[in-house]
Symmetry: C2
Subunit: 432 residues, 2 copies
């Protein structure tokens, strides 16, 4: 494919993307396919000679779309949101064309420097303590990881390296195995200190946990994967109080802040804790500015060596929406969650199972787990909306998460009417 064909096909693809997202409400949110549906639809081996582009495009609607769960449908209320916005898509296109790999400052200075500054922008939006910001000469700073799991693992490895070195310095006679036996990681039943759990969006009390960690010289990592985006609104910022006790903090703009996956934001107070754990310095990655102390080589901050120019997405999104636009997006989702909550509360057959703080409502039919499993099964079979369950203290609970950027009150009301009808059918069938 030469550049002039790319111009043509690229513009057609932009229209396909626009049509897909504009018309997504008309697609069934959850697909009909059964496991193994795809393999028989395509050849068993790659073609020797090129296929035509037209063939590929027509296969998208024939082969791919029938198996897609439409995460951006306004009838998708499952899991947590995954971000989608036009500015982020435009930035990702640019990222694809530049196609640089930003493992060191020299590998593409703009890639590293925009990331550092964007992480400062975002940190300031959240009112993170100054110690987490890079600024011109700070000891802390931010880095984009691929996922919250990666951020947690990076924090864990950094903490382990730090503690191991302290133990080795204090007691040089200890063997590696003896040191390993001394290491302890504390976690709750949702793992590490969490702001906004996936199950029910509950919050750990950092003002209690934080001082204990600091006193015991324990590394405190805070994971606010979903909830973190809300902290850009002053009315939710108090949920982050206590972050000043943490060594590292992480949340996913790719969930709720309109920056398409992947973009997991992680900050540390001491960047040397990370670079000390991950430093990798073969000659072919060295460059002349390295010893200046002025530069950041992000390969020392993460597990993979390679990294895309992901900060472009943040830059486009933050500038096109402005902080106020981002706040409006968060507030709309929280408002819709409360609208759904009040609809549930108006029906005495249902109960709310956890305090609605952000965009997630945990609810169930009053009655047995079996009854609620049956309700979820009916919702799943009807495929008009998509949601998933969770367990809360042995209760089987339905999770209604406000997800789509384009979801409106009307969709939430329709979803609720649909759930009510299915519940009525179910309760009628149970009586018979």
């Amino acid at each position: 494919m030469n550049v002039s064909e790319f111009r043509k096909r690229g513009k057609e693809m932009v229209d396909y993307m626009a049509n897909y997202l504009e018309g997504i409400e008309g697609r069934q949110v959850y697909p009909d396919v059964e496991p193994g549906y795809l393999r028989p639809l395509i050849p068993p081996t790659a073609p020797q000679e090129p296929d035509t582009y037209e063939d590929i495009i027509s296969d998208i609607e024939k082969i791919i779309m029938p198996g897609v769960t439409h995460w951006h449908s306004p009838y998708f209320f499952a899991y947590f949101p995954t971000a989608s916005s036009y500015p982020a898509m435009l930035a990702d296109m640019l990222c694809g064309a530049i196609g640089c790999i930003g493992f060191s400052w020299a590998a593409s200075p703009a890639c590293t420097e925009l990331e550092t500054v964007m992480m400062d922008w975002l940190g300031k939006m959240l009112e993170l303590p100054e110690a987490f910001l890079a600024g011109k000469s700070g000891e802390g700073g931010g880095v984009i990881q691929g996922s919250a799991s990666e951020a947690t693992l990076v924090a864990l490895l950094a903490a382990r390296t730090k503690v191991t070195r302290q133990l080795q310095a204090d007691s040089p006679e200890l063997t590696q195995a003896a040191i390993m036996e001394k290491l302890v990681a504390y976690s709750s039943d949702q793992v590490v200190a969490t702001l906004g759990t996936t199950t029910c969006c509950s919050f750990d009390n950092l003002l209690e946990v934080g001082p204990i960690c600091n006193k015991g010289n324990l590394w405190l990592h805070i994971d606010a994967a979903y909830a973190g985006s809300a902290f850009i609104c002053p009315e939710f910022r108090h949920l982050l109080n206590g972050v000043e006790f943490a060594d590292s903090f992480n949340f996913n703009p790719h969930k709720w802040l309109l920056v398409n996956f992947d973009c997991s934001a992680m900050w540390v107070k001491k960047r040397t804790d990370l670079t000390g754990a991950f430093k990798l310095d073969p000659l072919y990655l060295k460059h002349s500015h390295e010893s200046s102390g002025l530069i950041t080589d992000y390969r020392h901050w993460q597990l993979p060596l390679g990294r895309r120019f992901r900060s472009l997405k943040m830059w486009f999104v933050f500038r096109i929406y402005g902080v106020k636009g981002l706040q409006a997006h968060i507030r709309k989702h929280v408002r819709l969650a409360h609208e759904f909550e009040s609809l549930v509360l108006q029906d005495p057959r249902f109960e709310i199972c956890a305090e609605v703080i952000l965009g997630l409502v945990c609810f169930r039919l009053k009655g047995s787990n079996k009854l609620n499993e049956a309700l979820l099964q009916r919702i799943g079979s009807a495929k008009k909306i998509h949601l998933v369950p969770c367990h809360l203290r042995d209760k089987f609970v339905l999770r209604f998460a406000i997800c789509s950027r384009t979801v409106e009150l009307a969709h939430v009301q329709l979803a609720w009417e649909h759930i009510r009808e299915l519940a009525s059918d179910l309760l009628r069938a149970e009586k018979e």
Copy 2:
């Protein structure tokens, strides 16, 4: 930004991408900026109110491009190639619009199933042993990881879990620490068994290492991050002989197979070795097909929970190029490396430092390391081409890697003329 503005801006962006790549030869391959250049050029905080799109676009040339190392310039000969092709960019655009997160089969069946089949396609292109393929009912299969480092870590953790469980079963009296002390990982000075090292593209002898590992019941992971792509050509396939002894194998189509970053291909013979190590099953991720044994939930195959629809890139690239087109790409790069090698050999002042097998030429001026460091410094200052050094048995060596998809013989010849001139200047200056 609404959908109609996206249509307009998206098409402009396609033209920007096309213009950038069409005109990349005219840009200086390595930037002039100094560390810290970017921060003063942009505001210290995100804007409260939206910026205009025009402002952002004009900032790309003003702020970003001056700090970009142009990896796709035909004068970029540093590191190893990172893939860039128009079909991959188109697929990535589609991936951005669909925006699904494929952590389980149900989260988007097409995302999981296309990946499994594409990994089979690719495995067959490489003539991997049948045991590594998923097929309809195989025990093995492939998965796309973000990077070779991730693949190595996944293999290491899977191996550790497997061995630990065996030890626990054989000797239930052993403590965790005692087990940890028994675990051994063998590696060469380039880490794990490697086909095509980054330093000089050397190859471990799998036919020697493999049987030893199998006999000792050791997990053998093979990393062919760069070289793996070449194995789609029959004339290079012998370099992969011995892969039949491995438990896991990995290479990066995002390096040399025209599939834009990130796309690191990993295969295992026993998928249960991975899923046993990483299984994560909260209720909100369960789905009705889970217990059928028919489906793949890729979250159990990797460290992160989330994953993009990356197999679309493979599908587009494999079909638009066809296997023959991909082979032609590899062969052109190898041919250009040999052209460069023969140019070097014609100049008695220079020597070749490692056998040229694929697309990398390691060379140096006959003489001291200091002399070669000075040559590299002159190349770096001139900024007409970009390359990086390595150490080979205490010798400071220059690496000339064929990288860009669009590099032609003329670029290689120009690069060599340039290097020769700088060497002449240097040798003249040394004499004076």
